[in-house]
Symmetry: C2
DNA sequence: CTGAAAGCGCTTACAG
DNA sequence: CTGAAAGCGCTTACAG
């Protein structure tokens, strides 16, 4: 029981397929109203739904936007995806989603599949190893771009394509300054993977700003860009600093390079009986929506996550322009987690 | 600069297009090794990427799975999407995602677009008004199914299609029993929209179980299925119950029909100076991952969200079977938010 | 095993 | 304004 085809509609309306196509799938060449009405009526009566695959083949544009994230269940990514969704809808693009679980093979596979599906653009969210992809995937992207495909990265720019780039370094420095201004004098850092630039930029921005004031972190530990990565890093950090419940000293101020890690850290400390901000203070980065109802409220650098997703789509749709870079500033927000009593 | 085509590959390998197709896009009919090698080499050298749109047209299966959720940034949905992603990947299906923002027009639009893209199956997550769609969308689904499309709902079943159905009523009753067993005697309910069955089932399951013990809620309020919906409902509830900080009486136990609402409620109460579980107790439903790091820890009914997503995909892929229903039990988990001192 | 050819459902110059 | 026809890039009976 095959679907109703344009041909069916044309036949019922007593016109050619070309005419039916013109009235139904809007071109500038508008047939006479009488004809147009007949076609529309026939389409409605038959329940005609255009075959997007066939249209894509005939046109050479699929209306598909490929979106790759590390983990759709991570609030950082799901917020971005929300923005991408909103912008795609208004642009009448459909989004093809891949959540890679931070597996590079899966990411490569997803890119291939998206290219096979001839997505008009591919958006890569989430930073990757030192700003470059492997040879193979880079070759694929090269051909893809040569054939008119657009690629947009959220995070640090690749050697090609457009990018929406949060000002990680600068904002982290501002955070450090704000923390110092609020009275903190002892710091520590929970960093992410050394190979990931977002992680390195945030860490460096923070540490360098401290340096300018003659300060240096007491200790630095690192973990994966996940809640559990922050959790285990926080345990090591507590040991290194010999933090004990109610130690009475001034609490050290820890900078975790993502909110998700900061939340994991707080959980780890709570399990140890350590209270934030009494025994240890902490700040994160991103301002994921989850933070809104987290206790204690978390000091962080707010990034307009949804807007970042929307801007990525805007870049993906700019066929006129070449590769562009858009910088996104972060907003330092001081909350309870770094409050000195 | 058009992309490399199968024809190009065939030419370079000195074989027919048919042969190239057979070796590259696996059929049972395997050409001789010599030929096959030549084709594969040519494809590699040219950087051939099959055009999935053309394949879809020629085959009559797109390998696309349409997924519709209310809000991708809501942890309930993003967890489900994670499961859908995982299962789709192993099944080598691509996911077309739509986040409707709970807007019915957008949902209808998304269904149409997915059908236009000839998705092999469409998964609808998130309950909708009283278990039926409007006429128009139902007609579209009818034709879609007649043409071989599968539809799967997560939540209450529609009049057609398969469904993954959490045992809302039963699990809510179990929750009520557990709460009573733990010493609670006064209850209240924060419900969702009256038109949504998931909401009604959970509320009824809970209230009926109380009834069996001769108990009845002191008050019921309701709000949207969102954090803010829970937030405002909680304010009304606190007023109705005249809750004040440290009132010293036994805290009433509130059942919010979703975790997201419960979290909003706790936030509202905190703003009023009310402490959970000292002044008021609360339980939710779903066990969203966010709960893990929430304070106080929230009593809830755990649903295997990711697994639900995976099972929906499994149902979507069962071309053999007719419409199926799978029930998913919930697990009552008592935590601090309902702890009686 | 291999190839010529038709067909999948559209769009779009090109004529009229 | 309207139509006949070619073409988009594949797959798959049907012959050989």
């Amino acid at each position: 029981m095959p679907a109703v085809t344009l041909q069916d509609v044309a036949a019922r309306a007593g016109v050619s397929q070309a005419t039916a196509s013109r009235v139904l799938n809007g071109s500038t060449r508008i047939p006479g109203e009488g004809v147009a009405d007949r076609v529309r009526t026939a389409a409605r009566e038959l329940g005609y739904v255009p075959n997007a695959q066939a249209q894509a083949l005939a046109r050479a544009s699929t209306g598909l936007l490929g979106l790759i994230v590390h983990d759709i269940a991570d609030p950082y990514f799901s917020s971005i995806v929300r923005g991408v969704q909103a912008a795609s809808r208004t642009a009448r693009k459909q989004v093809l989603l891949a959540s890679t679980d931070r597996d590079f093979d899966i990411e490569r596979e997803s890119v291939s599949t998206f290219i096979a599906h001839r997505a008009d653009a591919i958006v890569l969210a989430g930073s990757r190893q030192s700003g470059h992809l492997d040879r193979e995937i880079e070759g694929e992207f090269g051909r893809y771009r040569a054939n008119g495909g657009r690629v947009v990265v959220i995070g640090q720019p690749l050697a090609f394509g457009s990018a929406v780039e949060p000002e990680n370094h600068f904002a982290s420095a501002e955070l450090a300054d704000a923390l110092v201004a609020s009275g903190h004098t002892e710091f520590a850092v929970i960093g992410g993977p050394a190979s990931i630039r977002t992680s390195v930029d945030r860490r460096n921005g923070f540490v360098e700003a401290l340096g300018r004031r003659g300060l240096t972190p007491l200790v630095e530990v690192s973990g994966n860009f996940t809640r559990d990565g922050g959790h285990s890093a926080a345990q090591r950090l507590a040991a290194a600093l010999q933090l004990t419940p109610d130690h009475g000293r001034k609490p050290p101020c820890v900078f975790a390079v993502t909110d998700v890690m900061a939340i994991g850290a707080i959980a780890a400390w709570r399990e140890m009986g350590l209270i934030v901000p009494r025994d240890v203070c902490i700040a994160g980065f991103d301002d994921i929506p989850t933070l809104r109802d987290h206790t204690p409220s978390l000091t962080t650098v707010a990034l307009p996550l949804e807007e970042i997703g929307m801007r990525a789509v805007a870049l993906a749709l700019r066929l006129d322009a070449d590769d562009l870079r858009e910088r996104v500033p972060g907003d330092v927000i001081l909350r309870d987690s770094t409050r000195l009593s």
